[in-house]
Symmetry: C2
Subunit: 420 residues, 2 copies
Amino acid sequence: MSAKLKDRVRKIAEKAKAASSVLAQLSVSDKNNALLAIAGAILTHQDAIIKANNKDLAQAKKEKYPAALVDRLALDEKRIIAMAEGLKDTAALRDPIGEILDTTERPNGLLIKKIRVPIGVVAIIFESRPNVTADCIALCLKSGNAVILKGGKEAAYSNDAIFKVCRKALKDTAIPAEAVQMVPSKDRKAVDALLKLDDLVDLVIPRGGEGLIRFVAENSSIPVIKHFKGVCHIYVSDQADLAMAEEVCFNAKVQRPGTCNAMEKMLVHKDVADKFLRSMLHRFTDAGVELRGDAKTRQISKKVKPASKEDWTTEYLDLILTVKIVGSLDEAIGHINTFGSHHSDAIITKSEEEIEKFFKSIDSACVYSNASTRFTDGYEFGFGAEVGISTDKIHARGPMGLEGLTTYKYIVSGNGQIRQ
Amino acid sequence: MSAKLKDRVRKIAEKAKAASSVLAQLSVSDKNNALLAIAGAILTHQDAIIKANNKDLAQAKKEKYPAALVDRLALDEKRIIAMAEGLKDTAALRDPIGEILDTTERPNGLLIKKIRVPIGVVAIIFESRPNVTADCIALCLKSGNAVILKGGKEAAYSNDAIFKVCRKALKDTAIPAEAVQMVPSKDRKAVDALLKLDDLVDLVIPRGGEGLIRFVAENSSIPVIKHFKGVCHIYVSDQADLAMAEEVCFNAKVQRPGTCNAMEKMLVHKDVADKFLRSMLHRFTDAGVELRGDAKTRQISKKVKPASKEDWTTEYLDLILTVKIVGSLDEAIGHINTFGSHHSDAIITKSEEEIEKFFKSIDSACVYSNASTRFTDGYEFGFGAEVGISTDKIHARGPMGLEGLTTYKYIVSGNGQIRQ
């Protein structure tokens, strides 16, 4: 890596760090006013943003990117209004900073308060969707953090345009414009340099495919919050309300199959398999779902293709489902903990005992009884916004709201206490 | 690295992972009984442990290790009793597992509970002091985690003896013996292998010098909680009660200088410097403290040697102190945030306004007013036990008690909810 690039990235991080100290002290109204100023500027300058986006789209067509990627890349008036609304929504959220998490008075009279503070400097590395830029800026600034953005090269012009609009809007607010930084999108090596700045950057959040997340996790000396894949299971017990099971499984697979909280694997107890699957599998195939399964499932329906070993661990993000018939709740639990991704898993049963066992044993961020896994989402959980869904166990797990972008410090008030 | 060693370390981690699922389900009395059984076995088998320790000590003498290291290494009856007492104390602590951290009922009727659960498998990599082995086992098992230990090669025989006593004691308890694992102490490459097992190990905690911690942080693909150095400051304001300031500063430097929460740097406002330092510096030199300082401090006392650039960031862990005279609270805050280690810093002042500003602006795990920094400690904070003191901002910050070894999951109870 060139010393020049390394130096450039370091300077960016130093500016973010300096701005983060100012930002950490601001009142909630100062922060909210700045978010509203950015929202206004995005609407005012939407023509410039769309013009930049057209350059990215032209490049995408030239390089024959897949249609799904082009769709994620494209910005129109509707998406720009949504970006501005997102900023306004974040401004309306409760400010987590300054919350007193705990207060203790010690026998020696020391008063110890644990208070919520910003983390400092957060780097967010993301792919293709340029509207993520505005989301990330809103969430980081609201939680009092400076942010360093690194977008994908496909969206380089769009990201740059949004970034410039935002920086310009901040000039008339209490938030220093330097609190928002962007690393050149076109240079992958800039990411390498950024991931080593553990004296300046406090947290890295990669948002994108598994490849990007693995790359960041393996190359970062800064702590990383990982949002790996969602291989979500629903287990239909022999004690399930089968009509409910059918509605829930159908919803979890079909309502929006491209999301990480959609069901990818369905496990069914052997005693209800025949009855349940005959109706369920028809409904799936009618909705265009491709079915794969184990030998027992294939005995019930000829529409089911044989599942390969990889099928049990694959996140399809598509209308594909793998089905397995199991002999017991224990077998279901063992399968989910072994082959799942510790994201979201559900049981459908009328037995409180089974629910309790499932809740205790399943090692996932979100464990459900009698509901669709599709509810794993910051908005559905009532957090108002979402940084992502963490499959990590450290710092933040599951849907990660504004609080996931905070840490705490202890403030200790004395009147001359010394240690004996 | 040999494939054989890699394979061996992987097998160790797999066993820990399997045991962690059993351990996570155990009741608090099952866990406490196991800790008491280990405490009893350590006392029963103290001769074997001391015999093994003698082998390490003989080796240490042969290799002419420094006296301080030999002291840390040595086990006698008193230290073995202290190990057993530590296990009993941990058994007596409140079990954090199962605590309900938050409950929300959503408009659609979903009941979301956030509950505290064990992390899973924790690897602890430590140096020289063999009594840390028993501490780590106690804290991890009590919080429901399996533990993989890797001690230093200097204490290989002692660690192995304590490990074997512990494993044998667990055989008659509800905790699977496999929940405690040890990686061979003599092979540094085993650490490399361990740090890559991010599919099996959930957290790594290095306990030791800065070199060890940096090595682990740079080579781990598993999240790491870092306990870097403590370069603690006390700022004596022009609005301080100078008699109190003298007592607090003396305590923070002299009471136990080898700890990470001892004062290493003293900042004094220029308007009180002359009056305060004349008495204070005498007291320090009488207590054998070597003084270093800036030019202004040296004008006040000839006993003060010139401070080099490195002095401002060095953790001495010894009777050495660097002193600086500053012009304002702002200058003190800037200095601490720039040259400090974000561990523990204090202000001595009678002004509530100054305290508030110091609390808000200092970016450290523990920020004090009118008290010695020596109180940054799990026991002094009332946590009952301490995994260490984190200078990280992610997951755990400051003194890290049993709760630092836990995470949470969401359990979501429905009655057929589907996403619209």
